[in-house]
Each structure stands twice: as C-alpha cells, then as structure tokens.
Subunit: 609 residues, 2 copies
C-alpha cells in the first residue's frame, strides 16, 4: 500500500521548456534575473525526487484510508501532516510567488512544471496546497496591506491553508443564485450566514488555521453575480498580533464519500449557525466578489488542467512500464505457431497504438499548458517595454484557459481508461495504480466549472474577447506554422491535416457568430463542447507538429544523438494528425450542419423513469 507508483520522464520536460518553448530566452532577464537553466533543472530534479520519495508513497494510503470527520474536525490520512511540513519546508510552493510576498519570483512555467510533479505523485494531497496558493494570490492582489501581511504571507509559506467557498446546495453551477448573506457591522467587519458545499480542503489537521474565501451577498446588494462580495473567514479568529484566537462560527457539517480523491476532504461548511461568523471583506469595496474570485478561479482552472496532465502522464508511464515488463503471446508474425517465444506486450501492435494514443495526449497537453504559463512569463518580461506584445500574451492566456481545463480533464479520463486496458485484468485491481488514477481523475471534468461551462466560456466570452483579437492572433500563429511547413518532406501531409482542421474551425467560429446574431441561443450550448474539443485538437495538433519540427531540426544538426527520443516526438505528432486531426473536420461538419434533435425531442420522449 505504501509502494511508490509515481513515474515521470524529465527529458520530456526539458524538451518542451528549452527546445520547443525556448525558456532560455527569458532566463537571466528581468524579472527572472535570479533564474538560469541550471536552477530550473535543479528545481525539477529535486521536486521529482520529493514527489517520488515523499508524496508518491502516500498516494494509495490516501485512497485506502481516506479522511475522517470526528467531533467536527477532519483528520487527513496517515503521513499527510508530515508531508505537508516537508513541502512547506522545501518551499516549492513559493517558486512563482513574488519576492514582495516572500516568494522566489521564478517563471510561472517552472511553477507549472513543479505543480505537475506534486499533483501527479499525489493529487489528493496537493489539493490542499493548490487551493492555498490560489486563495493567497487573491488576497495578495485585492486585499488591504494588512490582509496581505496577516493572511497571504502565511498562506504562501504553508503556515495556514486556504479554500474557495462558492457552491451552494440549490445553486450548483448557477453561482449568481447564491443566498449566503453578509451583514455589515458597525466595526467594519461582517457576519456571514449560509451553507457552502463541495469545499475542497474545507477542513483538515495539516495546519493550525484555515482561511476560507467566501462568496456572499451583502444585505441589499443586487441579485445575480453582480451583487456578490468576497470575504475572508478564518476558521480560528486571528488576534491583532497574528496569533490564533477563539474559534470562528464555521462548522463542518459533513464530508463527502467520493469515487476517488479520498485523501482530499470535501466538506459541507455551515457559516454562522450561531450568528457569530466574523468575516472581513477582501479589500475595501463591496460587490467585487465575482471579479476577485475569478482570479482564483482562473488559477484553479489551469490547476485542474495540470491535474489532468499529471495523472495522464503517470498513468501512461506506468502502462508503458507494465507493457515492457509483461510477456504474453507470440509476435504477430508467428501468430500461428504455439511454440513461438512469448514477447513483451509492448511489441503487440494494438498495445503500441494504445500507448501512442496516450503519449500524444500527454505530450501535447504538457506543451499546451507550459505554453500557456510561458505566455504569462513573456508578458511579465515585456511589461513596461512593449505593452502591445504583452497584451498579446495575456490574451492567449485568457483564450487558452478553458481549453486547458476541459481538454486536459477529458483526456486524462481517456488516458486512464487506455492505461487500464493496457494492463488488462490487472488494471482493474488495486494492486496497480491505474484504477485509482481513473477514480481520482473523474472529477476534473466537473469541478472548477464543469466542462460544459468551460465551453460556454470559450464560445460565449473568449472567442469574441477584445473584438475577437485573441482568437485572430492564435489562428494567425497556426496559419504561419502551416505556411512554413506545408511542404515539409516528412511532416507535410500531417501539416495539411492541421490546415484542413484549422480552416474548418474558422468556419465553425463564424457559425457561432451567426447563431448569436440570429438569436438562436439554444444552438450555443448545444454545440459549444463540440467546438471546444475541435479547437483543442487543432491547438494540440499544432503544438505536437511544432515539436516534431524541432525534433527533426535537432536530428539534422546532430544525426544520431538521442535519435530514439526525437523519433518518438515525430511519431507522436504523426499519430495525432492521422488518428485525431484527420477526423476533426467531420466533427465540425456535424456542428455546422446544426442537427437539433436534442432540442426537438419531446421531454417525455426521453423515456419513463
């Protein structure tokens, strides 16, 4: 149960960071003066070691033992508390935090890479840390100077943790329907009353305090999301000197019994049952809650994408290790000879296809997520020097965030499914890690905004943001790549598939404009997910092919050096183009054909329940 199943191949990280995304161009320059490529490699290696040695062995323990609620207090699985102390000690959560807040000011892409290692080795455990950083960022950005000192600083260094309290029982994804109330007191504080559900890391025994960020409506505020404000609600009130004072009026009503992520406590929190839940407004202005929460939400959405990537990657590498080790059946060339020698199943063509299906998703999604993070970093580099270029990079972050969240989470589930299939019957057993990966991963497509919400965000907001400029710039980037490599001797046909899918995608975007214009609003949510999936395939296909170009260039420079690794990159891109990109236009054609059967069917026609 304490065996360590976390697997990672850092060579892949180095390829994406240094060869494809050219992180080197940023290192050593402000604001990353302190960071060179040696530092980056060292952090990756040390974090990978920590992930393998400290977090990995607690992954199955977290699943089998789970969290328990006793006397209103949640207790985490054995070993989590010590791992938390070690993680805070190591300081990797401070990597990309500003130096002003006690951080190390590293590029965000390094923080994303480190996050993959921490999350992949123990998703449930890393939930406590991930949400804390997100909540601390909100306070650091929108809080008063006192709040930054009192809360954010302690949270960044892991002394306290944080949560995000949005969802209410009756409202679900309809955040604007929240009824949790805030009453303004003469001393400037507020009293919160209401119930929040699905609160990840909502309670635990890892730290001495927990800082809840709670969306609530100040009495008299407008309805919908515009009337929501964001509040700091510490589990234990904080004395003026920063020490822990008496308990606040927030109670854990229950924790959920889930399909997976048993090591992460998902709590129902009741605020103000005794009318004594003391809260501070984040910053000084009411009704800014949604805007403030969205900073954390966007952070969390990228975090979910990283969760998906990280589980997919270790699921893939575990399946690969199993396929290399497990000998079964003769080679297909000797299929009629019962005395032929048995071979490792990695030699069977259908197993190779499954493995390459997985590798393409893992490689492509890692490149996408690292690229998104580097858009932040390039913007930081350009800020004050070239605002227009910086705006381009920040626009890409906006546009790519829903794609990262939805595509990485959907594909993680798919990759886990394939990994189980490679293991065969063994994959269905708890003896191997992949069934837990699947159970843990299922929620990624649901929380932090279901993937249906992501698709609406993409189609309804991001496509047309800044007058459509972010989209046009992305499309132009892809178009430039296509133009440059369409006649590539080896990759040309695959680039042609990218081009066809890309063109079809442009047509689909116009189709949505048409539906908006004609007021055919039902079509938008009907086809938004199909659009998101298609756009994800185009973007990932482009990045994989770009990686193949980089790989072939490296081979051309030094033939023979790491030939197998670089050929792997090329085969990954070709396989994605042939098996996925070649089919993207047919999904888009179905979208633009606009079949409305799901709207037309009479409700009773779905059947009797």
């Amino acid at each position: 149960m304490s065996s360590n199943n976390y697997r990672v191949d850092l060579r892949e990280f180095h390829f994406v960071l240094f060869e494809q995304l050219r992180l080197g161009e940023l290192l050593g320059k402000p604001p990353f003066e302190a960071w060179g490529s040696d530092e980056v490699r060292m952090v990756l290696e040390e974090t990978a070691r920590f992930a393998r040695e400290v977090l990995g062995p607690l992954q199955a323990v977290g699943d089998r033992v789970g969290c328990r609620l006793e006397g209103g207090q949640v207790y985490t699985p054995p070993g989590f508390k010590e791992a938390w102390a070690a993680l805070s000690q190591a300081g990797w959560k401070l990597l990309a935090v500003s130096e002003e807040m006690g951080g190390q000011g590293a590029p965000r892409v390094l923080a994303a890479a480190v996050e993959e290692l921490l999350s992949g080795s123990n998703t449930a455990f890393n939930m406590y840390a991930g949400l804390t950083t997100g909540a601390a960022e909100v306070i650091a950005q929108f809080g008063t100077p006192e709040q930054k000192e009192r809360y954010a600083r302690r949270m960044f260094r892991g002394q306290w943790t944080g949560t995000m309290c949005l969802t209410e029982p009756h409202a679900g994804s309809d955040v604007g329907a929240a009824t949790t109330s805030a009453r303004r007191m003469p001393d400037g504080t507020y009293r919160i009353k209401g119930t929040k559900i699905f609160i990840s890391a909502g309670d635990h025994d890892l730290t001495e305090n927990i800082v809840h960020l709670v969306l609530a409506r100040v009495e008299g505020a407008p309805p919908g999301t515009r009337g929501l404000s964001l509040f700091i609600v510490p589990k234990w009130r904080v004395a003026p000197d920063g020490t822990r004072a008496e308990r606040n009026d927030v109670e854990v009503a229950s924790i959920e019994h889930k399909m997976g992520l048993h090591g992460s406590a998902t709590a129902v929190l009741v605020f103000g049952e005794r009318d004594d839940c003391v809260a501070e407004l984040v910053g000084t202005e009411e009704n800014q809650g949604i805007r403030q929460m969205f900073l954390m939400m966007n952070y969390a959405r990228i975090g979910v994408g990283i969760q998906g990537l990280s589980i997919a990657s270790t699921a893939y590498l575990n399946a690969l290790a199993y396929a290399r080790e497990r000998r079964q059946g003769p080679s297909i060339r000797n299929w009629k000879d019962p005395t032929a020698p048995k071979v490792a199943i990695v030699e069977h063509p259908n197993v190779r296809r499954l493995l390459l299906d997985m590798k393409t998703r893992v490689d492509g999604i890692r490149t996408l997520i690292f690229k998104l993070a580097m858009h932040y970093d390039r913007a930081a580099l350009l800020r004050g020097r070239d605002e227009q270029a910086a705006a381009y990079h920040l626009g890409q972050v906006e546009l790519l965030t829903p794609i990262v969240k939805a595509y990485a989470s959907d594909q993680a589930w798919r990759v886990c499914e394939w990994a189980i299939q490679v293991y065969g019957g063994a994959g269905y057993l708890r003896d191997h890690p992949v069934e837990q990966y699947a159970r843990d991963a299922k929620v990624f497509s649901i929380y932090e905004g279901t993937n249906a919400i992501q698709a609406l965000d993409l189609v309804g907001r991001k496509l047309g943001q800044a007058g459509g400029r972010h989209t046009q710039e992305l499309f132009a980037d892809i178009q430039r790549f296509v133009a440059a490599h369409r006649s590539h001797p080896r990759l040309g046909p695959a680039v042609g598939m990218l081009s066809a899918a890309h063109e079809a995608l442009g047509g689909a975007a116009m189709q949505f404009l048409g539906w908006f214009g004609a007021g055919q609003m039902e079509r938008i949510p009907l086809f938004a997910e199909s659009f998101l999936e298609s756009m994800s395939e185009v973007v990932v296909g482009w990045l994989l092919l770009e990686g193949a170009v980089v790989a072939l260039d490296a081979l051309a420079r030094e033939p023979g050096r790491e030939r197998e690794f670089y050929e792997g990159k090329v085969c990954s891109a070709l396989h994605f183009a042939h098996s996925v990109l070649s089919r993207t236009p047919s999904r888009i054609a179905a979208l633009t054909a606009g079949d409305t059967s799901p709207l037309d069917i009479p409700e009773a026609g779905f059947g009797a329940t």
Copy 2:
C-alpha cells in the same frame, strides 16, 4: 445504502421485441408453442418487479460490504444468499433452457431481456447466475448423459453454481500457453494440477456446491490451444447418488480487490496442491477443450454485452430522472436575467444532448442484442424446415457476437461517464448510483476476451467465415434498408449517412483482405479495433433508423397515439446519424490510409520509465 436505484422502461423493451423485431411471428409456433405475447409481457413485468424490489436494494450493499475470504471460504455480502434462493425459486434462469433439461423452452430473446433486468439491477450478484447457466449449457451440450443429469440439471435450477477456469497467471489472453495439467487415472478420472486466476464466482456461500469447468492439458497432448481439454472439477466431490461427498483438492488462494463489482468474488484457485484434485473429462474425448469452452465463451460474451447494455440503461434513466428533478439556472433564452425562474436541467441544451447521446447507445445496443438473440430463435424455428435460412441466422449470431461484446462494453463506460456529467458534482458521490455503475462497468471491456481480442476475432475469423457469407448477408440486409428508405421524406438524409458509412466499411473490409494477402500482419491488430467500432456504428445506426421507420409508420397509422414516445425513437436515430454515423467514414479513411507510426516508433521513443 439499501435504497433501490434500479430504473427500467419496459415500453422500450416492448417496442424492440414486438414492433421492430416482430417477435409475434415466432410465438405460438414450435418450438415456442407454450409462449404467447401475454406470457412474454408477464415475465418481463414480474422480473422487473423482482429486479427492483429484491436485487436493486442489494446493489450498493454489495459494493460497500463486498466479499470476504475467511478460512478458505468466501462469504458474499448480506442478502445475497436469500436473493439467490428467491431467484432460483422464481425460475427465471430456466426460461430459455430446454425442456429436456427441466427448462421452459422460451425464446432466447426473452431470456436476453430478462438477463438485462437481472444484471442491470445488480451486476455483481448476477455474475454467479450468468456463469452457472453458461457452464451448465456446456455440460448439457457436450457432457455424457450422466454428467447432464448429475451436474447440468442441478446447475440450471440453481442448486449448484458453475465457473469457467481459463486464465493462468503467466498466460493472460494467450490461452494456448496454459500449463495446468491433467493426469489420466486408471479409473477414467483425471487429476488436475495448476493455478487459475480471475475466476468470477470462484467461491461463495450461495449454494452447497460449485462446479468448476477447467481447461487443462493432458500429459502428452500437443502445445497450444489444440492440446487443451475441458474438465469438471466440483468443489465438493459428488457421491453416486448425487449428494455431496468429501472436499475436492481445490483451494481459494485469494480474492481480488477490484475497482468495482465488489459483490462478485474474483478468486485465485489452486487445483491439486495435494495431488488429489479429482476431475471428469467433459464428454469422452480429449483435446476438445477449446471447442467446448467456446460455447460457454460465446454465451459469456453475449452476456457481457448484456451487462454493458443493462448498466448503460439504468445509468441513463437515473441521469434522466435527476435531470428532470434538479432545478438549476435559468433557461438559455433568459441567460442574462439573474431574476429569471430556474428550470429543470433537462431543459438545458447541453444536458439534452448528453441525454440523447446516452439514449441512442442504449436504444441501439438493446436492439442489436435482442436481434442477435432472435437470430437464434428464428434459426430454431426454421431448423428442419429450411436449413439454408437457419444457417443465415446462425451466421449472423457468429458475426455479431464480437460486436455485441466490444461495442456494448465500450459504450457502457462512455454512458456512465456522461451520466456522471449530467449529475455534476453529485455524480462523483456515493450518494448516487452512477459512480458505482462506472466502476462496475470498467471490466466489461476486459474480461471474456479483451476488446482487442474481440476485434481480432471479428477481423481475423468472422469477416471471412463461410467464405465471407455472413458478412455479405449482413451488408446486403443493410443495403436493402438503404435502398428502401434513401428517399424517405424525414429520414432520407440520415439514411444517406448510413449509406456512406456502410460503403466505406466495405472498403475497409477489402483493405484487411489486402493486408492479409500481402502478409502485412502487423496492420491487422493495429486497425482491428477501429474497424470493429466503425462496423458497430454502421450496424447500430442501421437498427436505430429501422426503429425510426417503424415508429413513423406507427404514427402514420394512428396519429397522436404515443406521439412523444415514437418521436423519441425518431430523434434518437437522427441524433446518432448526425453525431456518430456522419463521422464513421473519417475513421475508416484514417484506417485505410494505414498510418504506421505506432509500429515505426522506436521502443525507447515511448519514453523513460
């Protein structure tokens, strides 16, 4: 935990059985003289009641409590023993058993429908019964008259259960590599020695005896599958008068801890550790084991298809019930108005699309499975009167079996995934049944021959069986439907999509012939699954469209009667054509393009583990 979540809509059963497949043509005629449509309906209603009231409430119990192994004996979850007694008492497992064996001689399609109800309400529980019937069929077909009396008869009526012992630790899917041995004794019995794994229902406390069917190699027999014989190994030896005698030398080494199906004991069985495992050869001839086992295997493969269908159906209906009940968010028409009334989520277009995605799979796969079962029944009706027509029907059974097994199991997993998505966060919780459905369903794509094996069976054996006649006959059936309805005023465009997919499929079949001919054997397993999925879509699309024709005919005859139900059938077919069939040709194009990246990639190129 004892709440009953099983849902079924018998109206759908009646439509497929009586309206689309015209079961009425068979009823009342030999060998089904005793069966009229009233009897069929009554059996369905009573079984559905039993499934809801007796088995359904034990579904979650089986998952939470599971089986335990104590002192070499497996104990099933609370309630299973009583349910077994009630099931045997009710006699539904005897429905399609021959009257000679004490059965009721009902059409197989009724047995398939009943199986859906029993399996859907409690998959784990029904494993014990399903395997018993399969093992009893083997003995009834191939056993000596004494074996039929002693074993099969008791098994059919539920007094003893049966198992199928194929898999060995080192061999997995490579059945011919089995090393379990059988030594011939002077008295005509054998002594078995070896270990078998993944034995479903391998031990339990439901009945007083268990009859294992064990594949083993008689000393001196040839290697590979041709040298395997099938043996009867009772857990308790049987005295000449049929009563239980002393314990046989077969021990439960362990039971597996699985992702799901916790109520079904999956055992590692050790035969002959004390060299005293007494066995009887099935029948009188050695080296017939594979042929004999294949009867059970084919039975079991159709059974897995029914398991997939049954879980998909109840998952769908539970998601539908939730979507009708759960109110969240305003209608898309009022999306900008925070004060607009909340609607049930079944009104949201993306939820409707997910629900219709599920309904198409459930409707289509039920029709496919019932059709396969009715091919048996039509063959039974024709036997002795028109052997050529009977051969057509039995040929379709052969051809469709791998499709039923693989497509139903793959789609069950997909439907469970969508069901969880409809529930949102609630779907990830044990409070609702869908997460268990997903965990239970995952193994369907693996056991009784992985879906990769099913695809090889289809492409390597079934396509070319009887000189390709079964395939040609199926294709001709579809072609006739296309010709008859291509100009249908409402369904015509969808029939055109079926036609295009069907034509492409024919091309792909030729492509495999070409690869076989050219000795390009690696391509076969590389693309077999893609072919199977494409062929499944064509067959299911055809049956859904046929159902739509039947539904529209019914509406034309009596406008207004059950309009919503029949419109549901039409929308289901249209949606499948637009969202699935329209994309089938692109998958086939990728297949025939024959990208070999998964073969070309150097093994090291997959990455470092």
